[in-house]
Point group: C2
Chain length 363, copies 2
Amino acid sequence: MKKVYRVDLGDRAYDIHIEPGCLNQIGQALREAVPEAGRCLVVTNETIAPLYLDQVTASLEQTGWICFHCILPDGECFKTLDTWSKILDAMMDARLARNEPALALGGGVIGDMAGFAAACYRRGIPYVQIPTTLLAQVDSSVGGKTAVNHPHGKNMIGAFYQPRLVWIDPRVLKTLEPREVRAGLAEVIKYGAIWDRRFFDWLQDVMPRALALDEEVASQMILSSCRYKAEIVMADETERGQRALLNLGHTFGHAIEALTGYRRYLHGEAVGLGMRMAARLSEQKGFAPAGCEDAILRLLRAAGLPTEIPFFSFRDWMDAMGHDKKNIGTLVRFVLMHDIGHAFICEDVQANEIERLIASFHA
Amino acid sequence: MKKVYRVDLGDRAYDIHIEPGCLNQIGQALREAVPEAGRCLVVTNETIAPLYLDQVTASLEQTGWICFHCILPDGECFKTLDTWSKILDAMMDARLARNEPALALGGGVIGDMAGFAAACYRRGIPYVQIPTTLLAQVDSSVGGKTAVNHPHGKNMIGAFYQPRLVWIDPRVLKTLEPREVRAGLAEVIKYGAIWDRRFFDWLQDVMPRALALDEEVASQMILSSCRYKAEIVMADETERGQRALLNLGHTFGHAIEALTGYRRYLHGEAVGLGMRMAARLSEQKGFAPAGCEDAILRLLRAAGLPTEIPFFSFRDWMDAMGHDKKNIGTLVRFVLMHDIGHAFICEDVQANEIERLIASFHA
């Protein structure tokens, strides 16, 4: 059931390897990905360490690696320069050479921080993503965006830095909270909504098996998601144009997260709600045919994701979406849809259209 | 007397502009280098700010820039993650967009830190080097190496990140301590020793005018130095091979700095001593003809640089050069010379040869 997808970025090309149970084979894979290195640092968190660190370490040591660990506290609130500098300290303590890799074993927070540390330590050492959440497996581990948060903004400090290998074991998802699995599915749905109607329809069919983490369905779903993400990244590595399509649902979603203090919704849940809003706005502006929002709604429900848009005032919405007060008429860029599978970037959304949209959810 | 050299790194190409008095023209130059941006952040230190910040700000504001400042304490001891994060805070406070530049107005410490902050803020914004020391003008402002120090190692955390423009006004050197000018000249001499015998001989001829900061000689000397550095960087941007030639004199020089607690010698002074040692070692190993060390010595003296090798025990030397105790026989790579103007990388230097070398200076 092994699936391999090669991200073709010239001299920074790398493989995404997806295989149930492959966590036990990371040692040999690392040897092939980073020949000539002898030591490595595994960066993980306090939740993942008791579950999978022994297994990863055993595989590494069996293949001759000298293995160091850096175990960080778990949570987005620790995605800071301060925690990141602890990874650099661990790299210094391990005396990693410029060709010796770091491994990010965890979700998006660990991947983003360990990747950014790898980008900066000695001006760049190899790193490998071993994502353990569905969100990280289908999204953040691919694309080379690494970062930490600043008190005044998410992901404001970071680097574009590609991993040497992405090693995905769908079996590890079985220890994930079901709510986290559902939130990850929102990002999977997003790829279908942006890019591929057939994939979107396939998801509707297989959703019960996806929720049960059927290994065949999960592997296929992860592979397709990584492929869509990688295709966009290859076309636009440093996010100057088309990569913005990946933000479907994110303008509204980020606003919902911010307006609820990042406590009520998981990121994927908020993105699901944001996609519903983007679909309705696309219909209201006459870009998408009727039924576009309904299709999104039906799939979100099948995935057990929230679908009710919470109520906030128009002013709150506008503030949370970073609306510049000097620039009353036009808003920033939105990702809208011509149809399921056909997202596009729209620079022409007026404030009164947003007002009408949010009113329509609470009529 | 304007001189422009283009560093050809494909889509990261940039100009090095050298002209006495050009500090007053930075506003217009920045407008051409970074069109469409409206705001910028000038990063400088407490020594440089009273001398040149008003002048730079005036030029920027006259050409329509909205200009923010970040003034840091002066000195290598502040080249830390902590100071660097202050630059990021200033970028956040100024709300710089992804296309809005940072300017590094100062010596190597400011250039390295501001460049590294520009590399990481929003995963990379443009930056411009305005080096104010001779060392920065002939060395650190060119090549795209940015970094801060870690408590356990110099320049251990950083990025390869190219500036959008290097803007050099040799006239600012007149406010530099004469000892700093001489230390900068050591790096200029280094380029001749590595790469170009004619340039080396020309330096011997013009040294009195160089020390007097004659604008014609200074401009020519800076241009040539930047060109040598850029040629090596273009051939080896991320330092895998030939770029190591630039470390002529540095293995011994770093050891001398470390063994004297970074207090007795300026970096350039230590590099000058290191070049003398590398030249003698090259003669002793039969690579270079007799007279190679003497030529170095004569030019160092003309530049008013120290030439006496300080005394330390053999063990201190070896420890300071990072000699791995498990690896008794062979040392790390040295840059040696076949002759003035012909440096090469030598992987075959034995501990007993180092012992003989240092003994020969204190016989």
